[in-house]
Subunit: 454 residues, 2 copies
Amino acid sequence: MTSSHALHTDLYQLTMLAAYFHHSEAHRRATCELFVRRLPKNRRFLVVAGLQQVLRYLEELRFSDAQIEALRQIPGLKKAMTPSFVEYLRGFRFRGDVWAMPEGSIAFENEPLLRVDADLGEAQMVETFLLSTINHQTMIASKAARVVLALKGRTALEFGTRRTHPLAAVDVARAAWIAGFEATSNVEAFDAFGVPARGTMAHMYIMAADDERSAFTKYAKVFPRSSYLVDTYDTLRGVQTALDTVGDDVTAVRLDSGDLATLTKQTRALLKERGRQDVQIVVSSDLDEYEIERLIADGDFDAAGVGTRLATSDDAPSLGGVYKLTAIDERPVAKLAEGKVTYPGAHQVYRVFRDGRFALDWLGLTREPSYDFVDTTPLLVETMKGGRAIGAYEHGGTETLAVMRARCREGLAALPDEVRAIGGRTDRHERFYEVKPSPALLRLLEQVRAERAH
Amino acid sequence: MTSSHALHTDLYQLTMLAAYFHHSEAHRRATCELFVRRLPKNRRFLVVAGLQQVLRYLEELRFSDAQIEALRQIPGLKKAMTPSFVEYLRGFRFRGDVWAMPEGSIAFENEPLLRVDADLGEAQMVETFLLSTINHQTMIASKAARVVLALKGRTALEFGTRRTHPLAAVDVARAAWIAGFEATSNVEAFDAFGVPARGTMAHMYIMAADDERSAFTKYAKVFPRSSYLVDTYDTLRGVQTALDTVGDDVTAVRLDSGDLATLTKQTRALLKERGRQDVQIVVSSDLDEYEIERLIADGDFDAAGVGTRLATSDDAPSLGGVYKLTAIDERPVAKLAEGKVTYPGAHQVYRVFRDGRFALDWLGLTREPSYDFVDTTPLLVETMKGGRAIGAYEHGGTETLAVMRARCREGLAALPDEVRAIGGRTDRHERFYEVKPSPALLRLLEQVRAERAH
């Protein structure tokens, strides 16, 4: 990412910013929360991801002269670009506070994943980038976690780069690794984030050679101890060719087409016959958690490469995270429109555990009478103060991808069984976990409703 | 985009490159073609997009010292990073030729969108980035074109940034504009590509004010002649408030929730009553081509903001473009696996028109006996020679987004009616247009099959 993503936003953030500024309202104090109103179909929980990039964006946010010049060219904005507003934009920084669920956390509907307390202009301006980043990566991490659960300990490999935007692909690899994937094919994700990178050969490599035998032999000379792609011409003959030509250097075989259930069982039998129980069977080709459950039941494999359906989250291709004003100048506000009610005030999520498993989440106020929730774990933590990431969240701080990944593993282990289950693919939205507004929050909502009625 | 996306690739491209290099095969001549085997469900045609970025990537591709150092750190690659291979990587450039369908072209299944003729190592190395870029943007442009067709002349606005990766969002706006959208909310897309940017206010702006009236009044002072968001509290009352407080400065009202069919008709009646036939009605909120067709039948509006379902192409969230070796050292090759047959050789697509409409595409060889296709239009054009974009495709050349957009408009107008139709949302893949392999191509395929059988 380049140094400032100031223009990676919706134009209306800038028109609203200008309107606030010209009415001297940009410095009013605002609280905004980012949450998902309803889990997508086929999702029973979310895995939060993208926070680190959000914090970096907020720290680095500023308008360059060139960017300000670009804004002047926009017909809808031109009028508002007075010298004083340009001066304001030049000095614009995000100086607010951010409380958030750390990456790798498990979340549910109507819970703030992130809360911004900042000047109104700043809180407004950052909405789009925060939504894009958190929506995209949380969508991917949530899908990836289901794949990991479906694999029941087998290895998950991320292969989706070619089926999503080239730059989005890097964050797909990042989110998948946080959710428990073992490695990615994406080299940039290795360089940028240290996600382990894996890969050996494609069909093109085999096809460019005179025959499969020659392709394998040549590959082994450069890369002894490798995984071999065996399905270019005939899968079982390919396995035999790999064992015959490369022998002990075959550590794995990859099957990428055909009836994988039958072929993986036949491959396993063949490997056993040849005394090669050490060779791993890797499958790929349009896999997802549903197909993996079927293959575990009917086939026999050790690792799965998951691409298209992970990188696009194809059974739930968007996450509808929203970012709503919940207080202005300390006054709690709420949207009261039918079916789109939001809770007023600044919130905290209090998770109740029973026998080591998640039992219930309370959506409460940040200043809940604490005796109500003595045994709960508050999920939102302070990550940024006055525009600077703090503690573990500082640049180079202890909040590493490995920490996020461990957090996710722990969270997945604590899911109630029905939340952890994959379930059949459905078009309905179902709820498997309770998020309960606290009594104090419900009282506040009634109060806001009553005021609005006047 | 930064200067080189060399690491935005799958690791296996690099292991294969190393294997080719160490066996002195990197300089063999290869032909690869990028095509979509089968159109996605709910798609009857494709709109090609992403070529310009592909050409820039190819021109700028090189490995920096830091990137080479990163590659050394990858366990699976380390062994191959000999001094001579490092030297090869340092000097690595793409020096091949590219023939492609220009952006905005209409394409169908099994037709090459792009052909690379290059040294084997170069042709291999670029696969992932080409697939990511063309798959993503063609997916978006194809969806966007359906929205444009459904709107039957009404205005399409792209609002999807918050529901996709922040950097992918810029290319979503680009692809949508090529396909006929009028504008985007994405400011970076304006700055990077000149896509017109639009936007005025969100619910947060209304909620931050004391009331709707005050919000509208203040907005009008900064931005006279604007579009007003009217559904924060009560849509029809919102329309009245806008007209009462802002008067002639209301150019449009936006409705973002509720029963849009009924509300748009009521809004139109109200506007008429007030003599404000000049005010446009803009709708948004989870729209797509299906919902738009319903709203045209049951409601009354002038423009639609389309976001989530465009930016994720939610009824077909991936495009399965593949990139296959079709010739090596001038020898045509093909994948003969069941259900995944590819055609050998270098191809051209010859489109037959009848009465100004597309009638049939021939998939032929580049060197077809020309008398067979005298009256056809060849779709692939030469865009890059020896690693440099040529003619219209040069940096700053005449192939602008406006040209691509005009090409798309022309193509959409020439679609046969059943290809242009939206149709109901389905899970089946259906075919509405014929792509026919030429007799010469079929002969070549039989020849390759016969050779393989020996």
